[in-house]
Amino acid sequence: MRALAWHGKKDVRVDTVDDPGIVNPRDAVIRITSTAICGSDLHLYNGLIPTLVPGDILGHEFMGEVVETGPKSGLKTGDRVVVPFVIACGSCFHCGKQQYSACDNSNPADQADISETAYGYQMSGLFGYSHMTGGYAGGQAEYVRVPFSDVGPIVIPDGLDDDDVLFLSDILPTGWMAAENCEIEDGDTVAVWGCGPVGLFAIQSALIMGAHQVIAIDHHPHRLELARQLGAKVINFKDVHVHEALLEMTGGIGPDAVIDAVGMESHGFALDSVYDGVKHAMMMATDRPHALRDALRACRKGGRVSIPGVYGGVVDKFPIGALMQKGLTVKTGQTHVHKYLPQLLEMIGEKKIDTTFLISHRMSLEEAPEGYRLFLEDQDSTTKVVLKPEWEKGRFQA
């Protein structure tokens, strides 16, 4: 089959590789019909995630048709499914608490040592996201092996297009959980750093959950415009002092909850980001938490901090004083995707949530390297790239 493989920093290629098969009883093999490039993939593309090996197949946002099942996969050949990017067993202590991204059993024992050493405990397996998360081949490919297929994939009813439901695999539940972690109350202002796919879905979710106002912060005009169309107020951090603006827009109280939907590759113009950039270049620190620092400082006293943005290592100049003195609550994590799927699928069916507005590009799998380049270099207009492995080579729709 054809699959997008990582070969090095900013070097991804579509290679011909062996087809996947059934390995374990609960497996299924899925023929991919749609698969997206995620902001998280850019961290891989930029070479910021260790334990990636040349030849690793990327992609953790995908859906398709079941073509092969193990004896204990609850799926049937022909089922149309969306697959969560988190791999979870459904039966361990953490899965029992719906903490699927903390699953004890989905990260193979010989790979799990890496996160156990780094974080004190092993994390779940993830598709297409380095060996630290299990070394599972991803779904930017024609076919993918899906472990624990009786637990993760959700069967899509007729009448919904791929574009309607694909983002159930990651960014829609991620935005939803980010908003849920804000514990929104009447009259609340939620400030969201980052108007990428995750930030935009967090904005949509926070408004559905009853936030009085959502304030979106970014510097890309088109992305800010999308945020405005969803109902957010917007701040371009290039033009205004974000902290001042947030105070003025909340009657001096400050935002009740803040969301960092930027993660470890935050852009910034302040001194701390220069410092971070230098350390980064010298491999002395992995993460650049510029937006997170801003968010912690901007959050009102006693407020809530939600961090869907991905971090992998350690950070410098973390404002622990602001966190402690103001008595902030922090909630974060890789999304517990499985927990949100039925609810979100229903809301899509009832047209309470639209996800299709996000897609800026559709292209064949063969164009994937160009998709990565656009998503990184032309961020403003490239809001989401969806790859269609069934499309013939060269087909491209912007």
């Binding site: 059934i22 092969e68 004896p71 081949a137």
Partner: protein
């Protein structure tokens, strides 16, 4: 008799059985005597298990070789005990154990993979309490003398069972010893942890997790029946229709 039987082994193993190792044995009650024999200096009464002592022998496995780890498994105690008590189940989650045959009277014959080929040795059960405890020890002439002890306790709050495994081994000196040492390139503690994780995976999910894209899973005994090979067509038909096994 030379302890090594040369057989080819495609998987260069770092270690075998629980601690990747499970080896050794001082005469009699290996683990207990090892732990009990240690000089311990406590600054005050201590509730943490002995194996977490600083300067514990397992920190320097070349010198002394006892490894242990506790894991909580979300299954009933009786079930876990019964599974482990049937040693022929062990190769299902111990990557480097090829087979364990029951010889009766609590005796078993183990065949373990190593870079030097297969190693064989026999063990006998030294202590056993239904649903609670299994301890075994290799015979004196084992290529690598070893013993293991696994305890099962109910976990609080309906969390299943706490499984506490301890393994001790003793590598012989000389050329054979150096060969054995090669087996343990990986820290035995790490191997023990991995084997216990695989045990937990198997008990909780019915399978051992792997990122392999094609079967069989690496933790399966090499002698296990191979799943039918998937035809590898160069040009793939548009609609790939496959037989679906019944759940």
């Amino acid at each position: 008799m030379h302890p090594f039987h040369s057989r080819d082994d495609h998987r260069a193993a770092a270690a075998f059985t629980i601690g990747g190792v499970a080896l050794a044995a001082l005469a009699g009650g290996v683990i207990a005597s090892r732990l009990a024999g240690r000089e311990r200096t406590y600054s005050q009464p201590e509730d943490a298990p002995d194996k977490t002592l600083r300067g514990h022998p397992a920190d320097d496995w070349r010198e002394d070789t006892v490894v242990g780890r506790t894991v909580t498994i979300h299954r009933p105690r009786a079930e876990l005990y019964a599974f482990w008590r049937d040693f022929s189940n062990l190769p299902g989650f111990m990557q480097h154990v090829r087979s364990v045959d029951d010889l009766g009277d609590g005796r078993s014959r183990w065949v373990v993979k190593s870079p030097a080929g297969s190693l064989e040795f026999e063990t006998r059960i030294t202590e056993e309490r239904e649903g609670e405890l299994i301890a075994w020890e290799s015979d004196e002439d084992a290529p690598v003398r070893n013993s293991g002890r696994i305890e099962f306790r109910d976990a609080p709050g309906g969390r299943g069972t706490q499984v506490d495994a301890t393994i001790a081994y003793d590598a012989p000196g000389g050329a054979a010893g150096r060969l054995i040492a090669k087996l343990f390139q990986k820290e035995p503690k790490l191997q023990a942890r991995r084997e216990l994780k695989r045990f937990k995976q198997l008990m909780e999910t019915g399978e051992v997790a792997t990122g392999e894209r094609q079967g069989p899973p690496p933790a399966e005994p090499v002698s296990a029946p191979q799943p039918k090979a998937k035809p590898k067509a160069a040009a793939k038909p548009k609609a790939k229709v496959k037989a679906t096994a019944k759940a």
